[in-house]
């Protein structure tokens, strides 16, 4: 048979292409599909707003959970140089703002702060450099003055600090009893502040009006936080240090000597604030019977709830809604005439009723508040802060006031106008640079990523274990408990690298490392990351 000549074999050329894909879709830059783009924008947690010092609570909790304690300490100290102190004595306004409060109970921030603060005691802060030739005088070595000095020092200014007493710390050292704040804690924390450098401490310097005027001339700025210098007394009572004592002075004596000797077993304390309860409880620790007499009802009296509760546990009797109308010194001691009080007005004036009661007591301790040295307040061009300016407030409020003053001073010295970064929120932070200050409400929390869990229970010394000593009452929770509690934090508005955005990005365009980075070459702008972020740190913005 005839045959036609054909090419005998197949060459590569004959089979050139197969329907096989061997390259990647990465040539397809899907970022061009986008109308909106995600942006990483951290926001403000309500607890930070609640904190007078605006501590970035979620952030330090995040570092705690990351087992990066140094970073946690750094974040805490960025706003507050007294974390170990505040972790004990601060009423934690933050907790009352916590988004978890009405969900399953606020995060026990106080104990977390105490935990990190105690760690911080062992970590001195980094030395600050001197960046300016200008000098600032700070008068008063309490929490406000120390905070002001601390932030100024961090800002590169040299500070001369003046303190009347032999030690720095004010009420931290001379006021708050050890069972609430051990002296060593406050002392260490103050030492750490001084570690920053740039602070020249002058102890035993009593500053009066003339001295302030002088400082004003010699320094580029002066901050005065003298605290409250004089006891208030009821009109018909005078402190004689025989039958009638100053609560403040007694507390100081106890802090310095560890004890106080009073003649008499039946002691009455006048006042409903923390000082009244502190002195009452301190004296109770000497085995004496103590009454607290206050104008308010027990519930409305201004002392911290814990204080009141613990005082009653310790056997202190609270005679509330009573006004000391008269006092007679007798052979057996003091005879008090008390009137019933219907209510207490805003200016601390009681509205009395007809009820009259008499009470005998060996000693009366007055703790109804203290006054400031008004004459200094009139000096212009001087910055004021702390209790001296704000009246009796909490430690954290003193810290906040010192911090605010420091920034105001620095703004002034640098010729800038100081303004709070967000007036509405009373929020300022020294170093973080947010473009948008927005507080994350509970509704912004993607609750699907959380489940209900009650806060940890705190262990306290029982009343009979504490009435004969000054040991701390709230025991330190275990690390396990602290971490469990820390995990409850929603981390509102603050990235805690949970990677939810990364997980749900359909386009693999997210990298989470400290913050969230987006690969805009491929991000299609779907917005799932923003929607799913449990804490609202990703915003979708128009992509122009």
């Amino acid at each position: 048979m005839e045959s036609v000549d054909y090419q005998n074999v197949i060459s590569d050329k004959d089979i050139r292409r197969f329907p096989i894909s061997i390259t990647t879709t990465e040539v397809n830059l899907t970022g061009s599909w986008r109308f909106y783009k995600p942006e990483f924008k951290e926001k403000i947690s309500p607890c930070s707003v609640g904190c007078p010092a605006n501590t970035n609570i979620p952030k330090y909790i995040h570092y705690l959970l990351k087992n990066d304690m140094d970073r946690a300490v750094e974040v805490l100290r960025r706003e507050n140089p007294f974390p170990a102190t505040c972790g004990r004595v601060c009423p934690h306004f933050c907790q009352s703002k916590c988004n978890r409060k009405d969900y399953d109970g606020a995060v026990e921030i106080k104990q977390i702060e105490r935990f990190v603060g105690d760690y911080a005691l062992k970590v001195p802060p980094k030395k600050a450099k001197v960046l300016s030739s200008k000098k600032v005088a700070v008068v008063g070595g309490g929490p406000a003055g120390l905070s002001c000095a601390y932030f100024l020092a961090l800002g590169g200014y040299r500070v001369d600090l003046f303190e009347k007493e032999r030690f720095l710390g004010g009420l931290l050292i001379y006021g708050i009893p050890d069972y609430r704040l051990p002296k060593e804690v406050a002392t260490k924390e103050i030492e750490n502040i001084l570690e920053v450098g740039n602070i020249n401490v002058n102890l035993g310097v009593d500053v009066n009006k003339e001295k302030v005027e002088e400082l004003k001339k010699n320094y580029d700025a002066v901050f005065v936080a003298l605290g409250l210098s004089e006891d208030k007394t009821p009109g018909n009572v005078a402190i004689d240090n025989e039958h009638v004592f100053s609560g403040y002075e007694l507390l100081k004596e106890i802090k310095v000597n560890g004890r106080v000797d009073l003649d008499g077993d039946n002691i009455s304390v006048l006042g409903g604030g923390n000082v009244a309860f502190d002195i009452a409880r301190s004296i109770r620790r000497a085995g004496k019977d103590v009454n607290i007499i206050c104008m308010e009802t027990l519930e409305t009296s201004p002392a911290f709830e814990d204080e009141k509760k613990e005082a009653i546990e310790e056997g202190i009797k609270v005679v509330d809604s009573r006004f000391l109308q008269n006092l007679k010194i007798t052979d057996r001691g003091l005879h008090l005439q008390l009137r019933g009080v219907d209510k207490v007005l805003d200016n601390y004036e009681p509205v009395l009723n007809d009820y009259v009661e008499y009470m005998d007591t060996d000693i009366l301790i007055v703790a109804i508040g203290r006054k400031r040295e008004e004459s200094i307040l009139g000096i212009e061009g001087v910055f004021f802060g702390g209790d001296f300016y704000n009246g009796a407030k909490t430690v954290i409020e003193a810290v906040a006031s010192g911090k605010k003053a420091a920034f105001e001073i620095m703004a002034k010295l640098e010729g800038k106008e100081f303004k709070l970064m967000n007036e509405d929120d009373q929020f300022f932070r020294s170093t973080d640079d947010f473009d948008e200050y927005k507080v994350i409400p509970f509704e912004r929390i993607n609750i699907n990523y959380f489940s209900e869990q009650k806060p940890i229970k705190l262990s306290r010394l029982a009343a009979n274990e504490r009435v004969n000593n000054f040991n701390e009452i709230v025991m330190k929770p275990s690390l396990e408990k602290i971490l469990r509690e820390a995990k409850r934090c929603f981390s509102c508005g603050v990235c805690n690298e949970c990677k939810t955005c990364w997980f749900f990005c359909p386009d693999m365009c997210i990298d989470v490392h400290e913050k969230v980075d987006f690969d805009y070459s491929f991000c299609k702008g779907c917005g799932v990351c923003s929607e799913e972020c449990p804490r609202g740190v990703i915003d979708m913005v128009e992509d122009k």
Partner: protein, 290 residues
């Protein structure tokens, strides 16, 4: 689930052709994270036919073969038998099909493979209509839903086909429903499917922003709402064990909330929504969930 513990290894390339917020793309990404690199995909016509990239590019880093619409489970049977003969029994042969390719045109091949106990994993990503062709009704389209072929809403008598129990009736090794909106559940189920031997079926609810008429950002949220409202029940059945509901919300969200979050249901009146709620309640009651 702690997302920080999820592997960083990706088996998908960027630049895929999924719409923004596509549930199917996201589901594939995570399914592959569980299944790993000893996996290959058999893919019938579906949105993923496009998502996977245009020749000569590929969005997957595992082998993939595209196959005609009706054939996924049969092709996978052939692939698995070939791998067995090659001595590579350990390769996961995965069908990745849409609801059309599973509930409708691919059902026969699926049933055949399930009955033969083929050692494959069949994943149906169910976006409840023919989305790739532009949103036409499938037998996975829920009653009441708008599609371009049910412009006044899918009649209520067309109840969504009960794929879970259809597959269960073949007594396969493992059957589950899942959605990526519940990552824990999703990962556990893929892990179980991976470790089981024999025919395995996972029915994934997968949001389609254009088809469901939702904002792309709400994709995961809507899938979650489907579960929270009881429209999609997360369950599983291992061979020899009873069907188990793997997640039950504390209380079911009213179906209204789910329906009205999506444009495809916006035409529904109160009466219809009530009827749908009754249907869902009956279904949940039959599962012992109400």
């Amino acid at each position: 689930m702690d997302f920080r513990e999820v592997t960083n290894i990706e088996y998908m390339n960027q630049g895929d052709f999924a719409c923004p917020g596509c549930g199917a793309g996201l589901s594939m990404r995570h399914a592959l994270k569980v299944l790993g690199d000893k996996t290959l995909i058999v893919m019938p016509a579906s949105c993923w036919s496009i998502i996977s990239g245009v020749f000569p590019t590929a969005a997957l880093q595992v082998p993939l073969m595209h196959v005609p619409f009706a054939t996924a489970a049969a092709v996978a049977s052939g692939v698995k038998n070939a791998f067995r003969k090659k001595g590579q029994e350990d390769v996961n042969v995965v069908c990745w099909a849409g609801d059309g390719g599973t509930f409708d045109i691919g059902l026969q091949a699926l049933s055949g493979a399930a009955e033969r106990k083929e050692d494959i994993i069949y994943v149906c990503y169910d976006n409840e209509a023919y989305m790739n062709t532009g949103i036409q009704r499938s037998s996975a389209t829920p009653p009441g839903a708008w599609t371009t072929t049910t412009p006044t809403g899918n009649p209520l008598i067309y109840e969504k086909k009960d794929m879970f129990n259809i597959v269960v009736s073949h007594n396969p090794a493992y059957v589950a429903t899942a959605t990526i909106a519940y990552p824990d559940d999703f990962y556990q189920k893929f892990e179980k499917a991976k470790n089981a031997k024999g025919f395995r079926f996972i029915h994934l609810l997968s949001a389609c922003p254009p088809g469901w008429r939702i904002d792309s950002k709400d994709s995961v949220k809507t899938m979650r709402l489907a579960v929270e409202s009881g429209v999609f029940v997360l369950m599983e059945k291992e061979q020899g064990k009873p069907t188990k509901v793997t997640y039950k919300p504390d209380r079911f969200v009213p179906i209204k909330e789910y329906l009205l979050s999506q444009g495809r249901y916006k035409h529904l009146d109160k009466d219809t929504i009530n009827k749908l709620q009754i249907m869902i309640n009956e279904h949940l009651a039959s599962l012992g969930l109400l």
